[in-house]
């Protein structure tokens, strides 16, 4: 192959040295210290023999332990032990408030899945939402109130708080309630009622990942502080400026579904769809865009202004002056984009994630010029998923440092870790006479607070949400409360002097305020029951007085100032603002782009790294205005040379527990850094501007000469051909791309005869299970990875084991770059066991622990496996995972999250994707019980169920009408490594490159 840029590569060193990728394919297992251990001696042998003899004698003679079975005294109707039920509730892992179905088995929730009936998320659930079930079973969660750091009772805590409040009320002291966005109307009502009992009380809302600038811009332009609901499903043409809307921005699951829908026309790839992303840091959203424009952080707003000027001239409207110097911006791309947007007026979206009110006004103006308000931007039913105000927060901080507050209640936020607070600010916070934290864990703020009144987990308490004005959902408890935490709603009710249970509070609010907004004439009880059953109801939106756009409020940007290196603080998929830092599943989830797990790092462009002499893992010191952090470097393709990006949400107190999450063995290294925490808290680099908290800031970078290895999985599990097996052969077409032109051309004859190694003797007379994955739809969001991990009891290995290539994920997403390291295109390929018809693993297993089933499954039988690992060595897709250890299962509370339908594997056993055979069995048996044949869609593996992009289908290939058969037969359909003819059961649909630059699909070589 001549042009290395026409193929895919996974890491920068593979780009530089095409042979490297293939050499990596030679050894699946990294070097292990055990290999260098001495051979066992005679004594060891005798010891082992004696142990085996004694062991077999003991197991042969003993009776099994006595087990009891305890039925309920009175079994409720329609409840059967061993059968799982699903309850519709809300995900509260972030303020997007997606709908979930909690799968409850024998009285305990074991899995959260997307609720297909929810009007926003429509069945999707992101990685964070999936993983949030662990919060319920977290044994570090506070089970009772704490006063001055000591466990206390609710009576005692309430009495002390009420006494303090009484004296504040008398002195007319200032009371502030600081929360994140509260989507729950009942809780909002409680906070309002509580604040109303004081003369000087205010509810302040702040979001660590803020959209305050959008709200402020709309207040200035439309006279109402609203966040319009973005309807990506109606917008085939999207221009995004620094907004990672498929990964972390506002409501990613909802947006991913809409984005995917807009890119289809009658189920076929739409020719009009176009997405341009302007950003300085390669994001999940930018990686898949048709066009990605790499700009310095300071240029992003100016590019938006230049786009507005172009749109305004087409519309013949007034435009604010463009202040950036000529030639500094990609004029040609902006011209083309303006034309595309203009042609798709009313069917396009311009979104901007910058924390800059002027830029947001320009963005709103662009959408106004394009006629998107009322079409793709909904102001009638605006989003309530972000309500925070950065200005209110900064005002509160001033009040705190001036010592003006009598009481501060903090709920759903951790300001001590999320804000750039210095020592004096923290001390001022400690000096507040009454500081109450409602945090469920002892976070940084709870440590300062005199009273910690833990909020209950959403899976064990009543609540509600109105994520979009007019869409209301109920949160219902699915588990008996662990400990004695108390829902925030009940706490505020108690402190207002009107104690009530959360259920009564929600029901009262729904009866008085929400049911009257429902016009259907349904009696309240039926309305309530219908809401509980479906998970969401549509009612009349709250009225908001939005006026017509005031053009004069749109301002020009200040002229760009010369900037050096700029720190870009971003939210990482899975970690977001850090409130789930306690969650090992999310910590071990590799970032969809950098593929790094367990730590945060400073992304630096390859050119910048070369000029500074930096290599991956080098610790650098990043300094801004007296604050500095030390953080390892990750050289990231697609990064702008003047930007260094760092994920927020790390270095949290709750990550202390991960000093050693994986196996305890003699070579194990801690997962946490020197300070006992996972990653580094970068929030000290955030910067207050007069209007917002800015995520960009000029910084200085210094090399420290020290080093910390990062757990990056990007080069693990290579599918390339080792050069010694095929010297000079063509690259393997692993991830394949196509263009719309190629697709519209008549289908070429696909059947290329490959040599058959085995006779085709599998009959498949019944079902023939298969999966198809649309690589064009897959955004790489990794919801499936976490979903699979939870469903199948996959252990968390810890940072050290990940570095050793021993992550246990059954489903991984391989990320491939194409193009140049400066501005690569990204393709994501979910990779799991391919359930080959001629599986190479099956032929090498000496004990028949992996065999083919009559329905096309490649079965892995744990109790038969003796751990030779031949199968993993012989697997061309590198999807088998070996249990090098028994992973810890000592925490009895956490063990409740284990799926009772899947065996917990022990040491020395191989495991891999089973196509969720437990769900296949359940669906088959249930069909048998009901006496009807199985229908397409009866079986949804965990990965398919949760996919926000609907990129995965599963079903019976023997049924020509099934969706999987239809997908497999598409012109885009192919199977990975078809040339080796192991006949896999997983079909992939090629990535579509609408800009006509489809890569043949070769991997480096």
């Amino acid at each position: 192959m001549n042009d290395p840029h026409q193929v895919h590569w996974r890491s920068l060193d593979e780009f530089a040295d095409p042979q490297l990728a293939e050499r990596r394919g030679e050894s699946e297992f990294e070097d292990t210290p055990l290999r260098h251990a001495e051979a066992p001696g005679r004594r060891d042998f005798l010891r082992a023999t004696g142990f085996v003899l004694a062991g077999s004698a003991i197991t042969g003679c003993s009776r099994a332990p006595v087990r009891t079975a305890t039925p309920l005294p009175t079994q409720p109707e329609d409840y059967w032990p061993g059968r799982s039920d699903q309850y519709a509730t809300i995900c509260t892992a972030c303020s997007a408030s997606c709908g979930v179905l909690a799968k409850v088995r024998d009285g305990r929730p074991v899995k959260l899945e997307g609720n297909p009936d929810h009007p926003l998320s429509r069945g999707g659930l992101c990685a964070v939402g999936q993983a949030s079930i662990l919060s319920l079973y977290d044994s570090h969660r506070l089970g009772q109130p704490h006063v001055s750091g000591k466990p206390s009772s609710w009576e005692e805590a309430d009495r002390a708080i009420l006494t303090a409040l009484e004296s504040i009320r008398k002195q007319k002291g200032a009371v502030r309630i600081l929360t994140g966005t509260v989507t729950s109307p009942s809780l909002q009502e409680r906070i309002r009622a509580f604040a109303a009992t004081f003369d000087n009380a205010r509810h302040i809302v702040f979001d660590p990942l803020s959209s305050s600038a959008i709200l402020d811009a709309h207040e200035a332009l439309f006279g109402a502080r609203v966040l319009p609901r973005m309807r990506f499903e109606k917008a085939p043409v999207v221009a995004a400026f620094d907004a990672d809307f498929l990964g972390t921005w506002i409501s990613p699951a909802e947006f991913t579904r809409g984005y995917r829908e807009a890119r289809l026309e009658n189920g076929k790839p739409s020719a009009q769809a176009w997405h341009t992303q302007f950003e300085s840091h390669l994001s999940l959203t930018g990686g898949g865009a048709e066009e990605r424009v790499r700009l310095a952080p300071g240029q992003l707003a100016h590019a938006l202004a230049a786009l507005v000027a172009r749109l305004a001239s087409r519309a013949g409207a007034r435009s604010p002056a463009v202040t950036s110097p000529a030639g500094a911006l990609p004029d040609k791309q902006l011209d083309e984009l303006a034309a595309r947007l203009w042609n798709a007026r009313g069917r396009s979206l311009v979104v901007c994630g910058l924390a800059d009110v002027k830029a947001q006004k320009l963005c709103a103006y662009a959408n106004h010029l394009l006629g998107n308000y009322g079409a793709t931007l909904d102001l009638e039913r605006p989003s309530l998923q972000r309500q925070g105000s950065d200005r209110a927060m900064s005002g509160l901080l001033q009040e705190i440092s001036a010592g003006q507050l009598g009481a501060l209640f903090v709920h759903g936020l951790n300001p001590a870790a999320e804000l750039p607070l210095d020592k004096t600010a923290l001390e001022a916070m400690c000096r507040i006479p009454l500081l109450v934290s409602l945090s469920s864990r002892t976070d940084e703020t709870a440590e300062l607070a005199r009273f910690v009144c833990p909020d209950a987990d959403p899976l064990e308490s009543w609540g509600d949400a109105e994520p979009v004005s007019g869409t209301v959902c109920i949160q219902q408890p699915v588990f008996r409360q662990v400990g004695h935490s108390r829902p925030a709603m009940e706490s505020f009710a108690a402190w207002s002097g009107k104690p009530a249970t959360a259920r009564d509070l929600v029901r009262t609010h729904w009866r008085d305020s929400i049911h009257p907004r429902h016009g259907g004439g349904l009696p309240f009880e039926e309305f309530w029951r219908a809401s509980l059953q479906t998970g969401a109801m549509e009612v009349k939106p709250q009225s908001r007085a939005a006026t017509a756009l005031r053009q004069e409020a749109v301002e020009a940007l200040p002229a760009p100032s010369a900037e050096g290196m700029t720190a870009v603080l971003y939210a990482k998929t899975g970690i977001l603002d850090g409130r789930h830092a306690y969650n090992p599943w999310l910590q071990e989830l590799p970032d969809p782009i950098s593929k790094a797990a367990w730590d945060n790092y400073a992304c630096v462009s390859p050119a910048k790294a070369a000029s500074l002499g930096l290599a991956d893992g080098d610790l650098i010191k990043i300094t801004a205005a007296g604050h500095s952090i030390e953080i390892p470097v990750l050289i990231q393709a697609g990064q702008h040379d003047d930007a260094v990006s760092i994920a927020l949400g790390y270095g949290r107190r709750e990550s202390q527990r991960f000093s050693n999450p994986g196996p305890k063995w003699m070579y194990a290294k801690p997962t946490t850094g020197a300070d006992g925490l996972v990653g580094v808290n970068a929030s000290c680099l955030l910067r207050w501007t007069p209007e917002t908290l800015a995520y960009h800031r000029g910084v200085q970078i210094e090399k420290t000469g020290r080093n910390r290895e990062l757990a990056v999985t990007q080069t693990h599990h290579s599918l390339t051909m080792p050069p010694k097996l095929d010297p000079g052969g063509p690259p393997r077409p692993i991830v394949q791309e196509t263009s719309l032109v190629q697709l519209s051309a008549p289908a070429e004859h696909k059947s290329e005869a490959h040599p058959e190694l085995w006779p085709r003797d599998h009959q498949y007379t019944g079902h023939r299970w298969a999966m198809a994955i649309d690589l064009d739809a897959c955004s790489g969001c990794s919801a499936c990875v976490v979903s699979c991990q939870i469903e199948n009891n996959v252990p968390v290995a810890g940072r050290d084991e990940v570095i050793r290539n021993r992550e246990m994920h059954w489903l991984r997403i391989d990320r491939y770059y194409s193009g140049t390291p400066e501005n690569p295109r990204v393709a994501h390929q979910p990779m799991m066991c391919q359930h080959c018809e001629h599986a190479p693993c099956e032929t090498v297993c000496p004990v028949l622990a992996t065999v083919h089933s009559s329905e096309g499954l490649n079965q892995q039988i744990y109790n038969r496996c003796v751990g030779t690992r031949y199968c993993a060595n012989n697997c061309p897709y590198k999807v088998r995972r070996f249990n090098w250890f028994d992973y810890p299962h000592e925490d009895r509370l956490v063990n409740l999250v284990l799926n009772p339908d899947v065996t917990v594997r022990s040491r020395g056993v191989m495991e891999k994707c089973s196509f969720c055979v437990q769900r296949i069995q359940e669906a088959k048996i249930e069909a048998k019980r009901l006496g009807k044949p199985m229908a397409d869609g009866d079986v949804a593996p965990a990965c398919q169920q949760s996919c926000p992009a609907q990129a995965i289908v599963f079903g019976d290939l023997n049924d020509p009408k099934s969706r999987v058969s239809q997908w497999a037969a598409q012109a885009r359909g192919y199977r990975v490594l078809e040339e080796i003819n192991v006949r896999p059961s997983v079909y992939y649909l090629k990535v579509i490159r609408r800009d006509g630059e489809a890569n043949g699909g070769g991997h480096h070589g």
Binding site: A64, P73, E855, L857, Q921
Partner: protein, 217 residues
């Protein structure tokens, strides 16, 4: 010489232990095989009486077998469907009646010792009225049929195709105290699946899978 003595001593020892174990060889079983397990239960419940003499349907109490993987042990309220009326054996009632006639008084309410454990668990007084203050307490029965953690058996699949309960559980209707009738070993399961595929169940053709993943996942 020493070597020779040592050899003799060792072989004698081996012979001795072989003789010692020989008597046990006849009852040798594979590890994990609990066939014949017949533990004492907290209430001396008689399957012979209920399923045999009174001919009650198995699924009346073990209704989970139709709906769930577990057949389930009936909850107390199922027992009370009859046992609010029937509180003692016929013999005990008659004995009381005779005694009352002899002593020339009205016969007293008789409650059998075993049933009073049920009433106690359900929070009922001897007149089987619910005591409002009573706390219900579940009865912990000893499980007889235990499968290893890596085996997933489902009652639904078997009951819905018409496999008789006795096929696996044996003549329960003649057991005073319940015991494990079958070996519950894998060979025993697979044999039945193979035979059912050939012979059918109750005259109907069935498809009993012998794939590993039918039970192991």
């Amino acid at each position: 010489m020493i070597q020779r003595i040592l050899t003799i001593v060792l072989s004698l020892g081996l012979l001795f232990s072989l003789i010692l174990f020989a008597s046990k060889f006849g009852s040798a079983r594979l590890p994990g095989n609990q066939q014949g397990y017949e533990p004492v239960q907290p209430i001396a419940y008689s399957h012979r009486l209920h399923a045999g003499e009174l001919k009650m349907d198995c699924l009346y109490c073990h209704s989970g077998a139709m709906r769930s993987r577990h057949a389930g042990i009936p909850s107390g309220n199922i027992c009370l469907n009859c046992h609010t009326q029937v509180k003692a054996t016929f013999g005990e009632v008659r004995q009381e009646d005779e005694l009352a006639a002899k002593e020339n008084r009205k016969p007293r309410q008789v409650t059998s010792a075993e049933l009073s454990k049920l009433y106690q668990g359900m929070g009922l007084n001897p007149q089987s009225e619910i005591k409002p203050e009573a706390v219900t307490k579940s009865i912990s029965w000893t499980r007889i049929h235990n499968l290893p953690d890596f085996v997933y058996f489902d009652h639904r699949a078997h009951v819905s195709v018409g496999v008789a309960c006795q096929t696996c559980h044996g003549p329960v209707e003649s057991m005073e105290r319940m015991r494990q009738f079958s070996t519950l070993s894998m060979g025993w399961c697979v044999n039945c699946h193979r035979e059912s595929n050939l012979k059918g169940i109750q005259g109907r053709q069935v498809n009993a899978s012998i794939d590993c993943a039918t039970c192991h996942y």
